[in-house]
Every structure is written in C-alpha cells, then in structure tokens.
Symmetry: C2
Subunit: 152 residues, 2 copies
C-alpha cells in the first residue's frame, strides 16, 4: 500500500526542479510558503495562508500578492489543489497527500476524508466510456454529521 506521501525534502526538490525547468528562480518566499502548506493539515484560503506564513516567519515579509502568485504556480504543478466548499468560498489544500474525498457537515463544517475503491473504479470506467482522459476528480458528500443530528 502507501502510495508514499512525499516528505518535505522531496517536495522541495520537486519545487526546485519545476523552477529550473521553467527558468524560474528559487526564492525564500516560495520556500517558506511551501513549508507552511506542507505542514498545514486543514484547508486554507489564500488569506489564511498569508497569516500563517507571517506568523511563523515574522522576519521575512511576504506580500499577499506573492501568496496568490505562488498558489497559482503550485496549483498548475498539481502541488496544491483547490476545492470549493459552497458558501465558504475557494480553499486550497496540499495536493500530494494520498488521494481522498470529502464528506462535509453543512452545520458545523466537520470534514471527514475517505477513499472508496468502488467509486474510484467506476469513475475510470465512466471516463473511458466517454473517451475522456481523466486527470482528477472532486467528490464531496454533503450532509449533517452525527453530532449535529443529536443537537436538533
């Protein structure tokens, strides 16, 4: 098993590689942002990420514009993924964990991650039927979690 979640060093190498390949430069800001994203378990908005970075590395100024620019870069390289949670707007997550889907409680925001092989398999089959070359998918089950059901 274990489709191996990369360690930070591995990830950093990958970033360097991407940068070199595109004639871009390795900067402190890009590295710090990657570091924070890597350590971030929850989903985050660009604004939240900005605050985390500033809080953790107060000695380096990182502008919100750089956050947006870096997120775009990382997203195009599939190192982060963006997910939309209805009313809460667009959020990002570290994109190289083991693949998983989300179950979201619309009352309290609780998020359960899960993987289901039957679903994954069907998806490939459907894509194939339509001669569609699949690059990824988003699957969210929305509802009310057990705790919130009690409270009603």
């Amino acid at each position: 098993m274990s489709s191996s979640i990369p360690g930070y060093e591995e990830l950093l190498d990958r970033l360097k590689q991407v940068l070199r390949r595109n004639g871009l430069k390795h900067t402190v800001q890009r590295e710090l942002i990657l570091r924070v994203i890597y350590d971030c378990d929850e989903h985050f908005s660009p604004e939240e990420l900005h605050q985390k970075v500033q809080h953790r590395f107060p000695d380096t100024r990182v502008g919100i514009a750089t956050i947006y620019r870096t997120l775009s870069l990382l997203e195009s390289e599939k190192m982060v993924t963006s997910v939309s949670f209805g009313v809460n707007g667009k959020k990002y997550e570290f994109g190289m964990k083991h693949h998983h889907d989300h179950m979201i409680c619309d009352h309290c925001g609780l998020m359960i991650e899960f993987v289901d092989n039957t679903i994954e398999t069907r998806q490939s089959a459907i894509a194939q039927e339509h001669r569609f070359e699949i690059t990824g998918h988003i699957m969210q089950i929305h509802g009310v979690c057990h705790d919130c059901q009690q409270k009603d």
Copy 2:
C-alpha cells in the same frame, strides 16, 4: 423512471409556497429570476444571470443585489445549486433537474452530465457507515475530452 422534472408552473407554486411559509412576499423580480433560471440550460454566474434577466425583461429593472439576494434564497431552498469550476469561479444551476454529476474538460470547458447508480449507492453506504445524514453531493471528473486530445 423519470423522477419528474417539475414544469415551470409547478416550480412557481413551490416558490410561492416557500415565500408564504417564511412570511416573504411574491414579487415580479423573484418570479422573473426564477423564470430565467428555469429556462437556462447552462451554468451561470450571478453576473450572467443578471444580464440574461435584463435582456429578456427590459421593462423591469432588476438590480444585481436582488440577483444575489434571490440566489441565496433559492439556494437555501435547494431550488438552485452552486457548483465551483476551479479557475472559473462559482456558478449556479437550476437545482431541480434530474440529479446528475459532471465531467469537465479542463481545456475547452466542455461539460458532460452523467449519472451512475453504482456510485450513488456507494455514497449512501459510506454516509451510513459514518452515521452521516446525506443531503447531497458534488462529483466532478476533470480531464481532457476526446476532441481536445486530438488537438494536441
């Protein structure tokens, strides 16, 4: 089969019912907006909806604020659903068609709608395992459509 897509009249009744139930008022604007949404096959942003409404009913002024307010109302009543398409931002769709999922081409934006019973069933099972009361789900397969594959 046919889980019966409601006709416009039915839908309008439902709206009136919702309004009455919440002590809200039946207004021309709300009706026109519903009308346009009902006839709209594609997904739309609030701004696009606004333009469609103005274009189709030039005699009634409908402000963008009313569009947003009405979309919120309809969304909370599950009469429209919002879907997020990554880079394209938040879009809405008429929420009472027969349920379907989306397959989206990231090159040309082509959207194929589909339903798969195996997936639907597994979803319910997963929700049950977590004592989760399911209210809906979002499932999008992203990739490259057949046409776009040719073009590369």
